[in-house]
Amino acid sequence: MTGHVIVLGATSAMAEATARLYAAEGASLTLVGRQAERLEAIAADLKARGASAVDTAVEDLGQAKAPAKRLSDWAGGRTVDAVLLFYGVLGDQARAESDLDHAAEVLQVDFTSAALWSLAAASLLEGQGRGALVVVGSVAGDRGRQSNYVYGAAKGGLGVLVQGIAHRLALRNSGARAVLVKPGFVDTPMTDRMAKGGPLWATPEAVAKIVRRAAERGGPVQYAPGFWRLIMLVIRVIPSAIFHKRPL
């Protein structure tokens, strides 16, 4: 029986799909996000789908105000089985190159704040001696590309941080785990401005299954779906002399 799960960025399509898997198992959840009405709509749905209890918390996660205290409040004395971090912004790469405030916002939300929540969650889980931190990164963090490297840099940096947490938790035999899940193209509102369709696109439900499994087992870095590991391996080893001639 699954216990308590804290979902950071609960209104994302991948987060909601993952929360439904936990609900079907009878878990209790705390949903964190900015929009109260939408969180309530998800909470009602998860209860109908089997969740034993659902709390909502309205919070601007990008600010990362007092993350340790907040997480402890949301745990509410319960043992936390998983802290899942889904939120993020894609940003506008072209704008970020000239409007540095926009670049700063992307870095603040996608790296700085996410890193602080991750560090706070790691300590909470380590203190419990169990539980998993699952952070959603992106394949965009694997190699800087001109089309989205500010977002990519933030996700790449976050990936290194989560890797470090996974190392720390493993080395100390803490009983807790940390996993970075790196989705490729996912059909969500975040990617609505891109042309979709074809074999590379995954549904939020498919990624959710990988996140749910990652909370139980597997290595510290998991691609979603798994074939992206191979694609990104190829992308990383393409020599710059060739790579720099492509508008990727």
Binding site: A13, A24, E37, R38, A41, I42, A44, D45, A48, R49, G50, P189, D192, G197
Partner: protein, 433 residues
């Protein structure tokens, strides 16, 4: 924020047409009102209508599948209220563990609540429970003039909306009454029959004692042999829901794979195999109710040109003769399908002005899109149906004439009064505009 984007990727299940449409996929109830307005709009669900009732070429389409949240489910009373995009697949998964099941389900669980209402779908228990619309307690309709209407049975707009093909407003949410069930299993019995008259006798004899009846019929033979299936819930308490499909067709079959020879061979083999295994057995609801869901994307079986489905209802008085004539025409044509379905409708009244079922028999089968030859055959079938006082099911249709539709749906004029002028579909423009 959800907006409309042009695509040719949204098709109906039959895939005969691939029109250009501007499609929006909202995920939040608060986005829906902003999308419902203006002209030439249509809301669609999971795209399981076969023909063109779910298509709006050169128009705007709101794809409702992202609006699938349950507002509330009362496990004590079996009342559930949810966004119109909730699938029966999800609904069964959440309700069955508490001992509830939709009172009426079609041959696939991949339909939405909104689609089930807009087509006033029927199931294998029509003689018991009637159509889906009879189990709707309330629904919320967004009209393109900006008004929001909450409707209950008895309201004339409710009667227009049930079976109203999505043309009276966009259904935002619905509240339905589920049926109590003990578990997931059914006691079923398969009986082979060798002529149509045996089918009708079996159907008559089974109505009183069985909740569910349906039969598969070999459409390559004239005399109408097939397998009659009847079932009741078996009473065991196991409530394990279905699994997702394990296999899906990854690409289109080539068109030539389906021809009179392979059709004949498949149907002959199926009859022999099913006859040999006839008798009583215990089956999961998934096997009995949703046999087609076992293979994902099975519509690719009919090749890249797509297919038509033909489903007619014939009133009792003419049912035996007209069905025999239809079977004879189909067998002679060499066209037809792997799975032709024949069943009887009971006399439970349908709640919608344009609801399809009428007491009598209903025959449903697929025809690969073979161009003119197929269309000519279907027109010949139309004449048989019309002469018998029957009608075709809009959810399956992509081709009937306006004259045929008007002649067979006497409530059409009454329906017109309730139609939302901002909503339309390819089907509607063909049969009524």
């Amino acid at each position: 924020m959800s907006a409309f984007r042009t695509t040719t990727g949204l098709t109906s299940w039959g895939r005969v047409d691939r029109p250009r449409q501007d499609v929006a996929t909202p995920r939040w109830a608060d986005e829906l009102a902003g999308l419902v307005g203006g002209e030439r709009l249509l809301a669609v669900g999971l795209g399981r209508s076969y023909g063109d009732s779910g298509l709006n070429p050169d128009g705007r389409v709101v794809a409702m599948r992202g609006l699938d949240r349950v507002h509330g489910f009362d496990a004590a009373t079996g009342v559930v209220r949810a966004d119109a995009g909730l699938s029966l697949d999800d609904l069964i998964r959440l309700a069955l563990p508490h001992g509830w099941f939709p009172a009426v389900v079609p041959g696939t669980k991949y339909v939405t609540l909104g689609g089930a209402i807009a087509n006033d779908i029927h199931g294998k228990n029509h003689h018991r429970e009637g159509t889906f619309g009879r189990h709707v307690r309330r629904l919320c309709l967004l009209r393109t003039d900006g008004s929001v209407r909450e409707l209950a049975p008895g309201d004339p707009l409710f009667a227009a909306t049930v079976g109203g093909l999505g043309l009276t407003g966009v259904i935002a949410w619905a509240e339905i009454q589920l049926s109590p069930v003990s578990g997931a299993w059914m006691a079923s019995e398969d009986i082979a029959f060798n002529r149509l008259s045996e089918f009708f006798d079996l159907a008559e004899a089974s109505e009183a004692g069985f909740d569910y009846t349906v039969s598969w019929i070999d459409c390559t033979t004239r005399n109408g042999r097939g397998i009659f299936s009847r079932a009741n819930p078996d009473g065991s308490p196991d409530r394990t829901p279905h699994d997702p499909p394990k296999i899906a067709l990854p690409l289109d079959f080539p068109s030539f794979a389906l021809n009179p020879l392979t059709l004949k061979a498949f149907n002959t083999f199926r009859f022999a195999a099913k006859s040999a295994m006839a008798g009583k057995k215990t089956v999961h609801y998934e096997t009995f109710q949703f046999p087609l869901d076992a293979i994902g994307q099975w519509n690719r079986l009919y090749g890249p040109k797509g297919f038509y489905q033909y489903q007619c209802a014939i009133p009792s008085a003419a049912a035996r003769d007209a069905t025999a004539e239809l079977m004879s025409q189909i067998a002679r044509s060499g066209q037809g399908s792997f799975l032709a379905v024949l069943k009887t409708f009971g006399d439970v009244p349908s709640p919608g002005l344009l609801s399809f079922p009428i007491k009598g028999a209903t025959l449903a089968l697929d025809f690969q899109n073979g161009g003119d030859a197929t269309l000519r055959l279907l027109e010949r079938l139309d004449r048989v149906v019309l002469e018998a006082g029957g009608r075709l099911y809009p959810a399956k249709d992509g081709r009937i004439s306006a004259a045929m539709f008007r002649a067979s749906y006497p409530n059409l004029e009454e329906f017109m009064k309730h139609r939302d002028p901002g909503l339309t579909s390819a089907f509607w423009r063909r049969v009524a505009a």
